[in-house]
C-alpha cells in the first residue's frame, strides 16, 4: 500500500476519497463493522458557517473552507445538503454582547453574509422562536446535512475509485521498519503501507501511542439528543442556537435534511470513550433548554434519542500535522465540532501534507467523482417511480412503511459500495426502520432480505456487528431458512 488511513469516520472517508484521485494504492481501516460508526454517526449534523471559531485557528480556516466546499461535494456524492441558515438567539444583554463577539469573529473568519437582527426581525423569519429573544445573529451560509450519509458516500466513492475498505480491522499494533509501516489488527491481519494517516477520532491518541507517538490526549465530551417526528420538522427552518459557552455551542433546535426536528446536544465531560447510553437527566435537560428557544415544540413527538461523543483536545483546536516523533505518519486529532463541516478541508490539507512529506501524487485519468446513489423511492414523483419499478420490480415492494423504503433499495444497500453488513447499516443507507414505529413492522422482513442477500442463516444477522445478533435460534417447530 502507498497509504493506509486509520478510521472510517467522515474525516478518514474523505481523506480516502481525496487520495483516490491519484495513482495510489490506498486502504481504509475501520475497527467497526461499518463506516461512520463513531462520532460521525451521532452529532448535530450542522454545516457550521464558522463564526464561532477563534480567528486564526486551524479550526476557523478549515470550517470556512469546508463549508464552501460542501455544495460541490454533496452534488458529486448525491448527499442531501441544505443551506438553511443558522440563527443564534440572545435572551439578555450579556447574550447580545456575545452575539457581537461572534459577529466580529465571523467577519474576521470570512463568513459570508453574517449579521445581527432584532428579536422582532428574527421572529419574522422564524415565527415559532421564543418571544423572549431580544436579538439574533444570522448566518445564511450555515447548513444541514446527513453526517453518516456523507461518510458512507465518501467511502463508497473512494471504493468505486479503487480504495480498499477493511471493516472489522482494529489496528492494535504498528511497526516501522525498512521505511515501511506494518499495521496489525486485533484479529491478526496485517497491512503494510508507506504512509499512515491516523484519523481514528476519539481513539486517535491511543492509535498515535501504539505507533510510538504519545504526544496527544483526547477526552470525550458527551452530547445527548432527542429526535422528533416529521410533523415537528417545520417548526423552524433555520438552525436555532443559543449563545455558546466554553462547553460547546449550546442546545440547538434544527430541522434535519430528512424533515425531522433535532434537539440537543448536552455537553458533559466523561472518561468513558464508548459510553453512548442516553440518560434520563440528559434528555430532560435537552427538552427543557430546547423549549427555551422554541416554546411550542411538542416534546411528545420524540421518535428516538441518542448520544454522541465529541473528541476534544486540551488546546481546543484541530491538530493536523506530520507526527513529530515518527516518520511517514500524519496525525489528525482533536477533531471536535465543527469537524463535520471542516472534514472536506481537513482531507484536502492532509493530502497536501502527505505530498510535502514525499508522497508522489499523479492524477488518475479515470477518477470519477460522481457517486451513483441508492434510488430514493420516497422522494420520487409518479413517473420516476413507474420507471424504476419497470426496471426492477423489487422497487415496487415497500418494506418500511413509515419511511416508504422498498426492497430494491435494501438490496442495493447490501451490495453497493460500501456494502452494509447488518440491520443498522441498511438503516443508515436507506432509512429502513427509522420512522415512527422504530422498525416494529419492517424488522422481520428486513432481516430476511439481509440473510438472503448475504447468503447467511437468519440467526447470524446482526444489528450492528459483533455479538449483536437479532435472533437467538429457532422455535420448537419453526425455523424455515430464507
Amino acid at each position: 500500500m502507498d497509504v493506509a488511513v486509520i478510521g472510517a469516520g467522515v474525516v478518514g472517508a474523505l481523506i480516502a476519497r481525496e487520495l483516490s484521485r491519484y495513482e495510489l494504492d490506498v486502504c481504509l481501516l475501520e475497527k467497526a463493522d461499518d463506516v461512520a460508526m463513531g462520532t460521525s454517526k451521532a452529532n448535530s449534523a450542522i454545516i457550521h458557517a464558522g463564526f464561532d471559531c477563534q480567528p486564526g485557528s486551524v479550526m476557523a480556516k478549515m470550517n470556512v473552507r469546508g463549508n464552501a466546499m460542501m455544495d460541490q461535494l454533496t452534488r458529486e456524492l448525491s448527499v442531501p445538503f441544505k443551506r438553511n441558515g443558522s440563527m443564534v438567539l440572545a435572551f439578555n444583554e450579556e447574550d447580545v454582547r456575545t452575539l457581537e463577539t461572534l459577529l466580529d469573529r465571523g467577519v474576521k473568519n470570512g463568513v459570508p453574509g453574517v449579521r445581527i437582527v432584532s428579536g422582532d426581525q428574527a421572529r419574522e423569519m422564524e415565527p415559532n422562536i421564543s418571544g423572549d429573544a431580544v436579538a439574533a445573529l444570522v448566518a445564511p451560509s450555515g447548513g444541514i446535512i446527513c453526517p453518516y450519509e456523507l461518510t458512507i458516500a465518501a467511502a463508497g466513492n473512494a471504493m468505486d475509485n479503487g480504495v480498499r475498505l477493511h471493516t472489522g480491522f482494529e489496528v492494535t499494533d504498528a511497526e516501522f521498519s525498512d521505511g515501511v509501516w506494518t499495521l496489525t489488527s486485533a484479529a491478526g491481519d496485517r497491512v503494510q503501507a508507506n504512509y499512515i494517516v491516523n484519523a481514528a477520532g476519539l481513539f486517535s491518541d491511543q492509535v498515535a501511542a501504539l505507533m510510538g507517538d504519545d504526544g496527544y490526549h483526547v477526552f470525550p465530551r458527551r452530547g445527548e439528543y432527542l429526535l422528533l417526528d416529521r410533523d415537528q420538522g417545520k417548526m423552524v427552518s433555520h438552525t436555532i442556537f443559543q449563545c455558546p459557552s466554553a462547553m460547546g455551542k449550546g442546545i440547538l433546535v434544527t430541522p434535519t435534511v430528512d424533515g425531522n426536528l433535532l434537539l440537543g446536544p448536552t455537553s458533559e465531560n466523561r472518561e468513558d470513550r464508548e459510553d453512548t447510553a442516553t440518560t434520563a437527566e440528559g434528555l430532560a435537560t435537552v427538552a427543557r433548554l430546547a423549549s427555551k428557544s422554541v416554546p411550542s415544540v411538542n416534546l411528545r413527538a420524540v421518535i428516538t434519542s441518542f448520544t454522541g461523543l465529541r473528541s476534544c483536545s486540551s488546546g481546543h483546536d484541530f491538530i493536523i500535522e506530520p507526527s513529530k516523533k515518527r516518520p511517514q505518519l500524519v496525525e489528525i486529532t482533536g477533531i471536535e465540532s465543527p469537524g463535520l463541516s471542516s472534514a472536506p478541508a481537513i482531507a484536502e490539507y492532509a493530502v497536501s501534507l502527505l505530498k510535502e512529506m514525499g508522497l508522489a501524487l499523479h492524477a488518475k485519468a479515470d477518477f470519477n467523482p460522481i457517486r451513483r446513489p441508492i434510488p430514493r423511492f420516497r422522494e420520487m414523483n409518479i413517473e420516476q417511480r413507474r420507471a424504476l419499478i419497470e426496471e426492477d420490480a423489487r422497487f415496487g415492494q415497500i418494506i418500511c412503511r413509515c419511511e416508504t423504503v422498498t426492497e430494491g433499495e435494501i438490496v442495493r444497500a447490501l451490495h453497493q459500495n460500501p456494502p452494509a453488513h447488518d440491520l443498522d447499516g441498511v438503516k443508515r443507507r436507506t432509512r429502513t426502520g427509522m420512522g415512527r414505529c422504530n422498525g416494529g413492522f419492517c424488522t422481520p422482513q428486513a432481516v430476511e432480505i439481509i440473510a438472503r442477500e448475504l447468503g447467511i442463516p437468519i440467526e447470524q444477522v446482526t444489528k450492528c456487528g459483533g455479538e449483536s445478533r437479532l435472533l437467538v435460534g429457532k422455535t420448537k417447530e419453526g425455523g424455515l431458512d430464507a
Binding site: G396, N438, G440, P444, V472
Partner: protein, 429 residues
C-alpha cells in the same frame, strides 16, 4: 375481475385487508355496491391483517360463539370475500390519498406486480389498522443494543418466521400483545422474568392476565417502569424502578434484572398517515378520525373502521364496526349525505373518549356508543344525556381502561332530540 391498469376508476376503495377492511367490503356488497366496483388494497401478500400472526385462540366468542384462532377468524372473512368475488390487490401499499376537485378521492398505490397505480374512487373505507409504540416514543434511556422488540415484531418472528428473538425476557407494558407473548415465549422455552407496567392497572384484558401471566407464575409489577437498558451489543439487563402517582421513577427503588430481550407492549397507535395527508380531522384522544355513527369521517365519502379508528381489544367489535362503515359507504354511494342534524357526542370525567364522536339525526336505527375509561372504576352507572334528559342509564360492576365498553341508544329515544349534544358520563354508585 375488472382489469387492473395504471389508471383506474372505482366506486369504493378499501384501504387495508385486515378484519376491518374485509367486513366493510362484504357489508358494502351486501348493501348494494356491485362487487366489481369495489377494490380492496392490502400491503401484505395475504388478506387477514394482524390476525394472521395471532395464532392463539380467543377470537370470535361474540361473533360466532366459538373460540377461533386469529388466522381462523380472518379466514372466514377472507373466504367470503373471495366467494363473493370482491377483488383485492395484495402486496399493494397505498402511498397517498387526496380529495380531487370533483369530490372524488385519488389514491396512489404501489406493488411489484402492477407498479404504480392511480385510482379515482367515489368512496373510501380506511382500514389500515394500528402500529405499536416503539422504544423511541417511550424514550427509555440507556444503550441501543440488539434485543429490543415490540411485542408484535417478536410475535411475527416466533409465529410466522419460526425464530426466537431471545431466551430471557423482560416485558415493558401489560398490553394484550405483551401478555400473549409472555405466554408464547414461555411455551417456547424462554424465561420471562417480569412484566413491568407504568400504570397502577394493566392495559390488557383480565382474561389475558390470568391465562398468560398468573397461570405461568410470571410476576406483574404495576406502577413500575424500565429506567435503564444495559448492554453494548446485545441487551444484558434492565433496571426497573417503581413510579409515583405522577409516573416519575422513585429513587432507591431500582431493581436489576438480567435478560437478553426486552419486549415493548406499551400501547397501539392508529395508523393514520394517509388520513392526515388527506386532511381529515382526527380525534386527539383516539388518534383516529372523527366519525359519525355510520363511521363516515368529516370528509364526505370517506369512512373508517377498526383499529385505524380507535384501538379495539376484541376483533368481534372490529368486524361489527366495519359493517357499519361498509353499509354506510353503500348508502352514501346510493343516496349521498342525507342527515339533517349532526349531534356531537361528548365524553365527560373519567370517560376518555366516545366513538362515534357525532350522531346524525334523524336516526334510522339504534346507535351504539363505544367508550373507554381512563382509570379503574368500581360500580358506576353509565349515563347518556341530552339537555339533562337521560337517554340511557345502566350500571356496571367494574370499568377497566383495558376493556372497551358500549351502550346502545334506542332510535326512539334519539327521535325526540332536536338540538344540543349527547354527553356520556359515569355516576358513582
Amino acid at each position: 375481475m375488472r382489469e387492473i391498469s395504471a389508471e383506474m376508476e372505482r366506486e369504493l376503495v378499501i384501504i387495508g385487508g385486515g378484519p376491518a377492511g374485509l367486513a366493510a367490503a362484504i357489508a358494502a356488497a351486501e348493501n348494494g355496491v356491485a362487487v366489481d366496483d369495489i377494490l380492496i388494497l392490502e400491503r401484505e401478500p395475504e388478506l387477514g391483517g394482524i390476525l394472521l400472526q395471532c395464532i392463539h385462540s380467543g377470537f370470535g366468542l361474540h361473533r360466532f360463539g366459538e373460540e377461533l384462532t386469529g388466522p381462523e377468524y380472518a379466514a372466514r372473512y377472507a373466504k367470503k370475500v373471495v366467494e363473493m368475488g370482491i377483488p383485492a390487490l395484495l402486496s399493494t401499499m397505498v402511498l397517498t390519498l387526496h380529495q380531487m376537485e370533483d369530490g372524488r378521492k385519488e389514491i396512489t398505490a404501489v406493488s411489484s406486480a402492477h407498479g404504480l397505480i392511480r385510482i379515482k374512487a367515489r368512496a373510501v373505507v380506511l382500514a389500515m389498522g394500528c402500529r405499536e409504540r416503539g422504544r423511541g416514543a417511550l424514550n427509555i434511556p440507556g444503550t441501543r443494543p440488539a434485543g429490543i422488540y415490540t411485542a408484535g415484531a417478536a410475535q411475527k418472528f416466533v409465529n410466522i418466521k419460526g425464530f426466537m428473538p431471545g431466551r430471557q425476557v423482560v416485558i415493558l407494558g401489560s398490553g394484550d400483545i405483551g401478555l400473549i407473548m409472555a405466554r408464547r415465549m414461555t411455551l417456547e422455552g424462554a424465561k420471562v422474568e417480569v412484566v413491568a407496567e407504568l400504570m397502577p392497572y394493566s392495559g390488557g384484558l383480565s382474561r389475558n392476565i390470568q391465562q398468560c401471566l398468573r397461570d405461568f407464575n410470571i410476576p406483574l409489577l404495576l406502577s413500575h417502569t424500565i429506567t435503564q437498558i444495559h448492554g453494548k451489543e446485545r441487551v444484558t439487563g434492565v433496571t426497573i424502578s417503581q413510579v409515583d402517582e405522577k409516573r416519575r421513577p422513585i429513587p432507591g427503588t431500582e431493581q436489576y434484572f438480567d435478560c437478553d430481550t426486552v419486549l415493548l407492549s406499551c400501547g397501539l397507535i392508529p395508523e393514520n398517515e394517509l388520513t392526515r395527508q388527506a386532511g381529515i380531522p382526527l380525534d386527539p384522544v383516539t388518534g383516529g378520525a372523527v366519525v359519525g355513527e355510520n363511521r363516515e369521517t368529516e370528509m364526505p365519502g370517506v369512512f373508517a373502521a377498526g383499529n385505524v379508528l380507535h384501538v379495539h381489544d376484541l376483533v368481534d367489535f372490529v368486524s361489527a364496526e366495519a359493517e357499519l362503515a361498509g353499509a354506510g359507504a353503500a348508502r352514501w354511494l346510493a343516496e349521498g349525505d342525507s342527515q339533517e342534524l349532526k349531534l356531537p357526542v361528548h365524553p365527560e370525567g373519567v370517560i376518555r373518549y366516545v366513538v362515534p364522536q357525532t350522531v346524525f339525526l334523524p336516526a334510522k336505527e339504534d346507535v351504539r356508543l363505544f367508550f373507554r375509561v381512563g382509570q379503574v372504576v368500581e360500580k358506576a352507572a353509565v349515563l347518556v344525556e341530552n339537555d339533562g334528559k337521560v337517554l340511557y342509564k345502566g350500571v356496571r360492576p367494574k370499568l377497566l381502561p383495558g376493556e372497551m365498553e358500549s351502550v346502545t341508544i334506542k332510535a326512539e329515544a334519539l327521535a325526540e332530540i332536536e338540538s344540543g349534544q349527547l354527553t356520556v358520563r359515569l355516576e358513582k354508585r
